[in-house]
Every structure is written in C-alpha cells, then in structure tokens.
C-alpha cells in the first residue's frame, strides 16, 4: 500500500493511524528557521468520528487508507444489512451494517442515490445527499390557508424521520428536507 510523507499531507488525504482509517482535516508546518520541522496534523477517525491532533517529524510517513467514496443506489434491507448497488452500470452490490448506516437510516429511501464510503472494499459509512424528498405519513391535520409565519408542528416522514414543518402541511405531501440540519425546506409539487 502507498504511503504519504509529511510533505504530501493535506486536507482530504485518507491515511491509517493506529490501525484506523482517518481523514486529514488540517496540516500545519511548525519549524524554527534553522531547526527541525514538524507537522501538526488534525485528523478525523473515520471509524469513531473522533478528531485527533497529532505531531509528526518532517519526513515521517503514514500508510494510505484504502478509502473511497462511491455513488450507490439504496435497494432494500433484510433487517440485518442495508443493500446498496453501484450506479456505474456494474450492478455490483454492497451490504452495509447498522454501524455504517448510522444516522443516515432516517433518510434512506429506496432507489435514491447515496455516497457510500468503502474501506478495504466494505461500506464504512453512508452519506445522504444534502437534500432529500420524502412523503409525510403522519402529522396533525393541516390548517388550510394558514401560510403565515410562526406556527410549526412535527411531521413524520416515510423513512421515520421527524421534522418540524409549517402548520399547513398535510399527510401525503412530499417535502424537501436538508439532511445536514434536518430542516424542512419546502413542499415539492407531486408529479
């Protein structure tokens, strides 16, 4: 496996540290004019999501982590695994476990496309698109004509996610939701 030396460190690089795949968030060179150079590196452990600060001597290297992002369509779950399929025409399927799916579970809709991060060929994490469109399956009755600011109520979406929506939203409507904040954006005209 390839490795990267401190001179190659930069944001976005995926490396192995203490046996775990990590992504470099920041790399700062610290060096007295005539003295030994060090790299102060901030990394996020892709397994635990924890952020680590580490110091390296100039010239030290880290093994590259076999981590890559692929677009995949969500197919179905068998209760133990969630199955995804490459969208590149290969129809290759990958089962993701509950740990990999994590919080993305509440945004998973069949036939939608997700970013699947593979580590050594197996799903490590699933990232939803920034916006998803989901149907409301449960909410208090809508109040027709009330489009004024101020009021909101909870609505349960087809995936189980609960978002705060304006009072006029009714069951069966399709909503656009920002998955990063979990916020309601707008109604989507049904096709």
């Amino acid at each position: 496996m390839a490795s990267y030396s401190t001179n190659e460190f930069r944001g976005g690089l995926k490396v192995l540290l203490d046996g775990d795949p990590c992504i470099i968030l920041e790399n700062e060179l610290v060096k007295p004019g005539k003295g030994q150079a060090f790299s102060r590196v901030r990394l996020r452990n892709l397994m635990s999501n924890r952020v680590w600060d580490r110091t390296f001597k100039s010239g030290e290297s880290l093994e590259a982590a076999d981590v890559m992002d692929q677009d995949m369509e969500y197919l179905y779950t068998d209760g133990e695994f969630w199955h995804f399929m490459l969208t590149d025409g290969s129809f290759e399927q990958y089962p993701a476990d509950a740990k990999a799916v994590g919080d993305t579970l509440k945004w998973l809709k069949e036939q939608d496309v997700y970013t699947v991060t593979l580590y050594n060929g197996a799903p490590l994490s699933i990232t939803p698109p920034n916006f998803v469109e989901l149907e409301v399956v449960e909410t208090d009755p809508g109040m027709k004509g009330d489009t004024a600011q101020g009021g909101s109520k909870p609505a349960t979406l087809s995936t189980g996610a609960v978002v705060s929506v304006p009072l006029f939203i009714t069951i069966g409507e399709v909503l656009k939701v920002d998955t990063r904040s979990g916020e309601y954006m707008n109604r989507v005209k049904s096709s």
């Binding site: 001179n7 060179l29 060096k31 005539k34 110091t55 001597k57 100039s58 030290e60």
Partner: protein, 322 residues
C-alpha cells in the same frame, strides 16, 4: 462542468500596496544609513549543508555548469562580496526552501538580508529594532536569553537537562518511537516551537539570544555564565519568528568543520549530503571582515503590519496558485 483553476491573487490590493510601501520603507531606511543595495544570484551552483534546510534543485545547463540550486539565502554570495571589500550591504531577494508550506511558510519567499562590518550582535539587534519598530510602530523589543525563555515557558534548562528528562518533556507531543531518532537539538526545537514560541512577543517584541553552541549555525561562539553560547539572535513578535542574526563566524577552519558536521547530520537523517561551497570558503580564507548579519522575512513583517496570521494574505500567488 469543468472547474476553473484558482487564478486570482489571495492577497487584497491593500496588502499588496502595503508590500510596495514596505519595500520603499526598507530602501529608504538603508539609503539614509549608507548601506548599499546589492543583488546576488538566486540560482547558484551550490546549495547549503544546513541539516534542516532543503533547497530546490535546478536544472541549469550552460557553459558547462549543470544542475544548480535555488538559493535558501543570499548569505554565501553576500559574504563573498564582504570579503571583496563591499562594506555595509543589504539585499531584498527571493529565497527558496523545499517542503515549507503552511500558514507561516511558502517555499518561495522574500528575504531582507544585511551585513554590517564592525557591528557585533548587540549593535545589529539595535538596528533591527530601528527598522522593525519604525515600520510597525511597535515598542522596542526586550531581550531574553534562550535559556531564560526555555526555563520560563518550557520548564526546562536547555543547557543541563539530561537526555532522558528532555525526551520525557517531549512526550506531550511525540510518541516514544517518534522520539527515538530525534536529536537533542531536535527535541529543543520541538519545545521551542510548541511550548515557547507561541508565548513570545505577545505583548512586547522580544529578542531571543545566546543560543546553545550546537545551534550556532554561522555565528561565533563564546562562554557566557559557564556555557558555550552562540552569538545568534531571533526577533519574535506575536508568536512569529521574524529574523535570525549572527555575529558572523569568520574562521575558515571552523566553518569547514561545521559544514562537515552538518553533512554528518544530513547523512544520519537520510538526507543527501551537500557539497561545501568552495568559493565561499575561499572568500573566508581570504578574509571576511568582522561583521554582524541578519536575515529577516519580509512576508512575515508584512503579516504583522496588516495583522494577519496567514501568509497567503500577503502573497499575490502562494505555491498552490503560483
């Protein structure tokens, strides 16, 4: 859609104007003091032996000269001028240091370097203060010895701490296996960078002087308080190292020995050995007048002037956009 390369300057026009004003200020400062502006090669036949400086190699091929190096500092060429009788000289030049890119570093940067025959380190520190405080309107620097600074901020005495205790102190930043092949000076550099430097010059600019003899580089050495110390100084403002000056070594045999010691350290660190610059040694042999010299980073001086922590804010095009 194909993404466009980042083509615009990273610095604001105000910063780039300030850069031009800074150059005028510097030229005026030295003109008033009868210090002559000179130019020396940016592309030289030789690099440097300094164990912690890596040059950028060139591929010149002309009149039998092959290879070459972009200079890490104009020091050797300027000292050859001094030996040839130049008198007081200064230069604003581009210098190159491979691998150095960060918020305070760009591999290509602007250096102000000057030499004062007849000055010692104390006299030159005073002139550095005139220049820097004149431009930044800051209070004149205090002076703290390397030893005092290390005791105050790193909690160790750099001259008599044992290897074992020094390594133990470094465990705050490095794992034992990382410390195995780090030299004593490497450990001290770690403490200087991580424990000491961030605290230097935060209220008043501060000169650090009296470095351990092992970090003398091209400075002469003498005994102070029972320890061998180098006549070397650095100015720190707001946690930023701004310059590095020496009461210059003029002894050719000592210089040759230091080049050889440098190469031993390079070899130990797995770096290529560098040929000693024989033209520079010949000039020392002929006779370098007693002088003090200093190199000051102009990009960092400008960072302090406009109040930024990122060198990209004072460069039109840092490496990634160059």
């Amino acid at each position: 859609m194909k993404s466009q390369p980042d083509w615009q300057p990273t610095a604001t026009w105000a910063a780039l104007k300030s850069r031009a004003q800074q150059a005028s200020f510097v030229r005026d400062f030295f003109a008033r003091r009868n210090v002559l502006e000179v130019e020396t090669p940016v592309l030289g036949r030789c690099g440097v032996t300094e164990p912690n400086l890596d040059g950028v190699s060139a591929q010149i091929s002309a009149r039998g000269v092959e290879g070459g190096w972009l200079q890490t500092s104009p020091e050797y060429h300027m000292k050859r001028m001094l030996a040839a009788g130049a008198g007081a000289i200064y230069q604003i030049s581009k210098v190159f240091r491979n691998g150095e890119r960060g918020r305070r570093h760009n591999p290509e940067f602007s250096m102000l370097e000057w030499y004062r025959p007849g000055f010692d380190d104390a006299a030159l520190m005073s002139e550095v203060s005139d220049l820097v405080c004149g431009w930044l309107n800051c209070p004149r620097p205090q002076t703290t010895s390397y030893r005092q600074a290390m005791i105050a901020w790193a909690g160790i005495d750099p001259f008599d701490i044992t290897e074992k205790d020094l390594r133990q102190r470094c465990r705050q930043w490095l794992e034992p296996e990382q410390l195995e092949d780090l030299s004593r000076d490497g450990c001290l550099d770690l403490l200087m960078s991580f424990a000491v430097e961030p605290n230097l010059g935060t209220e008043t600019p501060v000169f650090i002087n009296q470095y351990p003899a092992s970090q003398a580089s091209l400075a002469r050495i003498s005994q102070v308080g029972g320890f061998d110390v180098a006549h070397r100084f650095e100015l720190h403002i707001n946690g930023l190292e701004l310059c590095n000056g020496y009461w210059e070594l003029t002894d050719v045999e000592e210089q040759r020995a230091r080049f050889e010691a440098d190469n031993l350290m390079r070899k130990a660190a797995g770096k290529p050995e560098m040929n000693a610059d024989e033209a520079f040694l010949a000039a020392l042999e002929y006779g370098l007048p007693d002088c003090a010299g200093v190199a000051l980073g102009l990009d960092r001086l400008l960072m302090l002037k406009i109040g930024t922590r990122d060198i990209a804010d004072v460069l039109a095009f840092p490496l990634e956009r160059a």
